[in-house]
Assembly symmetry: C2
Homo-oligomer: 309 residues x 2
């Protein structure tokens, strides 16, 4: 399923640009890299994929009427962080997945050490991508701060740790420090706001910073990002229950087997679907001030609800 319908040829640049920009940056780094590491990075970073985060970043920039070139450094940084997180999540000690985007995972294609180092290399590369962009120093600093927040302990990594703790509540000593356990609805919300939500929210914020957005515009776009971030995770959980490996390009039905805390597990399939619809409606409402300029972001919101992989 394509990110945009065939009636939106103007979107082609936004879809193709992240790939060619990532290749450009990778080629520059690869010249000074051990060949095996460069191969692993190319294999993972340039794998077929939607590149949702850079596309969101560029669309946020477009929505504000700014030149897309200003946002390219930020856009690539988002994909680099996302890619590292996939490589490390797939490792045997983490989710132990053999398949990603329909191909062997990085550690299966290469080896575990190479996969760990490829993930490790992508984090500073992401910051270099921002810092090598065309923004003024204050905007560079702010972009790095947002990325560090979203990728770090209060964002993606913290959410990933909580997700793992849920799977292994008995093995790891994960008692709440105050002895009171949060209800599953609250834990689920907290995990996914951070694990997936933070980076998706950061994607539109990094586009807004690149476009030198007013505080009001930035707040509206952040609200849009938060809504589609949660909807994205709900649909991800639903796909794991309802879809097949052939459609998604990765193993399905694994969440339940692992005892993961998921939206269908906590709320049931029908209610989860309705929740995703409500979050997307909130996201769309946040875009109202931008009129037709936010058409690209609106299409992404609808895509998130309807995607099959």
């Amino acid at each position: 399923m394509r990110l945009f319908g065939s009636h939106a040829p103007c979107r082609n640049v936004i879809i193709s640009e992240p790939y060619s920009q990532l290749r450009l940056r990778l080629d520059r780094f690869a010249q000074e890299s051990p060949k095996r590491l460069a191969d692993a990075l190319e294999y993972s970073l340039l794998a077929p994929g939607k590149r949702l985060r850079p596309v969101l970043c560029l669309l946020a920039c477009e929505t504000l009427g700014a030149n897309l070139e200003q946002a390219l450094g930020n856009a690539c940084a988002l994909e680099m962080i996302h890619c590292y997180s996939l490589i490390h999540d797939d490792l045997p000690a983490m989710d132990d997945d053999d398949l990603r985007r329909g191909r062997p995972t990085c550690h299966r294609q290469f080896d575990e050490a190479t996969a760990i180092l490829a993930g490790d290399a992508l984090q500073p590369m992401a910051f270099e991508s921002i810092l090598g962009g065309r923004l003024e120093p204050p905007a560079l600093v702010e972009s790095c701060q947002v990325l560090a927040w979203a990728a770090g302990i209060r964002g993606m990594v913290g959410g990933q740790m909580d997700d793992l703790l849920e799977e292994n509540r008995s093995q790891m000593q994960c008692d709440e420090p105050n002895g009171i356990e949060e209800p599953p609805e609250k834990r689920l919300d907290s995990i996914h706001r951070r694990k997936t939500g933070a980076m998706i929210e950061a994607s539109v914020i990094l586009g807004a910073i690149a476009a030198n957005a007013t505080p009001e515009c930035r707040t509206a776009l952040a609200k849009y990002g938060r809504g589609i971030g949660i909807a994205f995770q709900i649909v991800d959980d639903l796909l794991d229950v309802e879809s097949t490996r052939e459609k998604t390009g990765k193993a399905t039905g694994k969440d339940a087997a692992r005892g993961k805390l998921t939206f269908p597990g906590v709320y049931g399939i029908t209610e989860s679907r309705q929740m995703a619809n409500r979050w997307v409606a909130e996201s769309l409402a946040a875009l109202e001030p931008f009129n037709h300029q936010a058409e690209g972001l609106r299409q992404i919101a609808k895509y998130i609800l309807e995607r099959h992989s």
Copy 2:
């Protein structure tokens, strides 16, 4: 062995400051972190250690007569990157070490997934530490660029990959792309300039940036950093041959068993020791323009030659 002799009480601030500054930053992050992740970070980041990199950063700032407070964000960032690299290097898929600084390694004390995530969390935390510092935006941008270079594919991670490839030349397909193999002296130099050298050189550069150094001062300090960086690695290799686990707090004699490319392995013990002396002499020569203000950096250079752990 102490970093400075007992005749240097003025150095106490520089030695104790990194610990208390790291604790401060960690406490701030820990409030929003899953408890197990916060525990793993505290266990690793606040472990007993020399904190050579932050000390170098602060001493470079002191050498230039600037306020040490300006360099604290940069100093902590260096230790965070160093700490993440130790956690990941110790993993079973990498060096598979059980002991670090005389205590169980992070993945032995906690578990592999927690150790991977703790390392992953320290990278954005390092950038946040710089960005939360007291420098102006252009200096923040430059500091982040230097750290990203030193930590990335052209620095530490690239060197680590090359080091692993040396160990596993037969298993991994690591043929040179042009079919010509570099001589071991050149490969050794390239590995360690990047694996250890880049971060040590970056340590003094980050101190110089915080002190708003002139280009000449910065070049001189970078030369000092390059010299002690290589000397540090040579002595590290010598300690692995000559010392014991009791003295170093980690397993010794493992380099030879693994077939690592080391200085004593390539040059022999006597020549390696002389090389370390020569590099330190070059570092000391680079400090001449700073007169007595570089006393702290001189003591570190001597410490590097004489250290037993």
